[in-house]
Symmetry: C2
Subunit: 267 residues, 2 copies
Amino acid sequence: MLNRAQLISEIHKKRSFLCVGLDSDKTKIPKHLLSEPDPVFAFNKAIIDATRDYCVSYKINTAFFEADGWMGWQSMQKVFDYIPEGILKIADAKRGDIGNTSHQYAKAFFDTLGADAITLAPYMGNDSLAPFFEYPGHWGIVLALTSNPGSADYEQQKVGSEFLYEVVLKNTCKLGNPENLMFVVGATKAQEFEIVRKHAPHNFLLVPGIGAQGGSLAEVVKYGKTADVGLLINASRSIIYASSGFDFADAAAHEALKIQVEMAGFL
Amino acid sequence: MLNRAQLISEIHKKRSFLCVGLDSDKTKIPKHLLSEPDPVFAFNKAIIDATRDYCVSYKINTAFFEADGWMGWQSMQKVFDYIPEGILKIADAKRGDIGNTSHQYAKAFFDTLGADAITLAPYMGNDSLAPFFEYPGHWGIVLALTSNPGSADYEQQKVGSEFLYEVVLKNTCKLGNPENLMFVVGATKAQEFEIVRKHAPHNFLLVPGIGAQGGSLAEVVKYGKTADVGLLINASRSIIYASSGFDFADAAAHEALKIQVEMAGFL
């Protein structure tokens, strides 16, 4: 578990607000790992060893593990168990369902898997998210404005005078507070961050889209950063697939360090 | 796999459009099963044996299995494998993410787990759902209007002159067709079904909320049924937890039969 004060302290200690996304596609990991007993875990273990000094969080994308069924979940459990103390463990799972089902998901991710935080899809409304906020010391990270083209379909539609993602920000802030609630915000434009910060001035934002997805770190910091930093910026593929050879871990460390150095300049 | 024509044929053969929801909460299954090597599978196996003649679909709620981590996923795999031919296997998973992640979820549920259908959360827009419709012979079941109180938070908000769930119905119909696309509709009011059927006149609807959640079968049939039936009506707790004693399977069969007989009257 990592509370807000501890997270902020780690950010300043490491001079980094980088979240490394572990989207470990079996078809993309270095070929020489395929002879390992658990190639996906071996890959993630090496990536964690190589990048742990440069990041404050790992985001585990559940889909890439579920693709291998129960054996994938076994690898995922090993990855969660392997992440060192003091680093925020995010299950990027986009869950959300009626109350008694969400309660089971909270149990799955917080109790069984040992995640500190989970990403949540808000479509079914506040009662579908509430069970995740009944776990002291844990975080819900709610989808607000995502960076994919489909964000135009609903998130950026107007509900009355506001965007749907604004309504999500406002409603969800009734469930949690900056100690246990973050938002996924794939914004890059100043105007979007202005809207987000109007409704969620103190919440941490998990920002995807740096690196392979092409977002600019400087822009995000300029518009999204708060006095308490308030940003976790994710990079996945640009780090973990920096090389597909025997040097993949060194290459990942190199990419993570590059981002950390850039981030230090903003702190 | 079960295509639309086969599903309709099974409905008429069994004189039932019942979907049995397998929400197998370990704390609620009969105590005498806890000494089995895999209590959750033993429970589901007995429920399937007892109810398979009275239903055309099983809906496996992934949360209840994930609560036990990788061992839960192992039980879930066994449940999927055990469901007989000719019965639609729905993974009630409410997934949805950016394209390359949704592609991994489609692989997880359709290829690895062997589901025929998966429930999907539409918040991130059409590109987050598209990968699920690239699997011939499989179904995406998209959340439209759910039956929980939180459906008022976003689903029933107005976007221009339409409810958000209407916009979801319209947009999603561009991705799929009645051969591979269903919707979750927790409606009970005539007016709601009128709106749903305006946008999705031929799609099957997966309707929760009969039984423990208290919906009326007659009302749903009256407003939602089409010439091709077009309805799968789910009951979970009222069937699977009909008894917590040694007679749980018989009690489940009895409850499922009662619903089947009522359904036969509407066919």
